[in-house]
Subunit: 352 residues, 2 copies
Amino acid sequence: MKAALMYGAGDVRVEDAPIPTLQEPTDAIVRTVRACICGSDLHPYHSMPGSEHGIRMGHELIAVVEEVGTAVTTLTKGDFVVVPFAYADNTCAICQEGFQTACPHGGWYGTPDTPGLQAEYARVPQADGSAVVVPGVDPATASDELLASLLALSDVYLTGYHAAFMADIQPGQTVTVIGDGAVGLSAVLAAKQMGAERIILMGRHVSRTDLGREFGATDVVAERGAEGVAKVMALTGGEGSHVVLEAVGHMPAYEQAYGIVRPGGIISRVGVPQYEEAPIGFGSLFGKNARLAGGPAPVRAYLEQAIRDVLDGTINPGKVFDRTVGLDGVPAGYAAMDAREALKVMVDPALR
Amino acid sequence: MKAALMYGAGDVRVEDAPIPTLQEPTDAIVRTVRACICGSDLHPYHSMPGSEHGIRMGHELIAVVEEVGTAVTTLTKGDFVVVPFAYADNTCAICQEGFQTACPHGGWYGTPDTPGLQAEYARVPQADGSAVVVPGVDPATASDELLASLLALSDVYLTGYHAAFMADIQPGQTVTVIGDGAVGLSAVLAAKQMGAERIILMGRHVSRTDLGREFGATDVVAERGAEGVAKVMALTGGEGSHVVLEAVGHMPAYEQAYGIVRPGGIISRVGVPQYEEAPIGFGSLFGKNARLAGGPAPVRAYLEQAIRDVLDGTINPGKVFDRTVGLDGVPAGYAAMDAREALKVMVDPALR
């Protein structure tokens, strides 16, 4: 089968790889309907040291079940499923508390044992906990729009949703979203769903912020750094934003976040931090009782409700996809996202 | 009148100072019934550079109103009041949201304009927002025990309470308190009030941890650093603590906190951070969706209920005071707290 590998910064290749087979009785083997490229894939695309062997990339997937292990009880061959970007048993105490990305029996795709999902087939570990059936939909006849929105649930939309959920957004609040990438725009949509009254989107790519307005943004701030902070403070009467959703992961975005958060407010981060240490003392968070939340989204916790919301038309998060490639087009897809020519690239293995 | 000033690390002196007078129509002048020395006063006691003029110290007070400005409506001469450690108007949007320590019209004691409260008299700015009447109590005849518990509401107990409140403690949870100082012990008492099932107190001074057990601690961990983390992880079945209340403020305490917090759990800090930058990336907070909360306690938000709880005997937070001095004894009081010979020192201006 075809699969995408990264060999170093800027170096993505499509190669032949063995079709995966069952390794554990809790595994499922699935055939890709759609995969995609994540904004977080751009971090190694910028910084990965050269490697002889390459790393199988990708962690977002909608797929059809081909085969299940003997211990799998909730899936059968032919089921159409959404696969969250991290696998988990979904039965342990940590999962039951809603933090499946920290499941002690779970893990990430893109490791030697669990290859990435930008490929024609995939092995899904802990399949009962890590794949959810989409009822009543045949992927062979479903619209591209519906497939895009279901694919968005494997990571991007529910990552934006997680930011909003962890910020405990209350109706009537002002929410500022930092970042006009696909996760930031998803966070706008989620904040709108939760009843935010005012949604300020910080971003400077007009085609993206236009989609942000369609998703619910009431204000757009193109300025960054101190100017951006000043603009948001002016928009909020000098008091700051109740909630800040940080969907970038770089230090300047975090610095903007604590600059604009209101006393007692919440910064919720879902951009993977490209730093370990950052200001949290009296001058940044502590002095104004600002709170910090966020982390890798436990997609599984939100997935069943989100599938219902997509199927009944409440949300249409697939609008973040603006380009589709076949597997051979994956390297060009990385390049297009990196150059900001594409917002988010979908992968359809049936395309040649 | 007598007042305590700090001139540098380890250098506290008691001097004559002018009795304060009304400066704004929103001021009140009060006569001290009891003041005290705070654990946070020990930070400058360790590190303050030498100064020619000294800084008037203290920010905790119960007092009798002597005189009020023309704009003060809730207080009259003779009222017995608790004075929170920061002043605030208690009417602005930030105050109404419960974050009075960030009031744009508020501030701190111990500045040239607003001298500290370890003195015989004090000026309380924004008096309507910054002093709450204790109904039906005459300080001249009240028991020492009652006065101690009311004094504890001006800072120490409600700072511990704030840690617990911001951590949103749910009945049945495991709460770990880092620090066996007066704030840490107060946090134990508050966590118990909120229904924590298991309360692990990290501290190594047996007389203090004994009071912690009386306040509700179910386990005591004397180990620190990696050993302390391992002990708490073992006590929690390897999963970690739902809530960590950090009542120290030094980096090793914060490092312990993120080492023992459970995935999705909350670290709530009320020890004033003696650092600005600290780990919050994938390896510390983000990877396990751990949350961070806390800051200077908005005592005013909790004070009316807490006064009722003290008056009806629900809580007895004054037990953290284990020594009382007159104003002349304040320098010795600092030394005793610094040497950990005293847990928390009360100041009674009537003592000679």
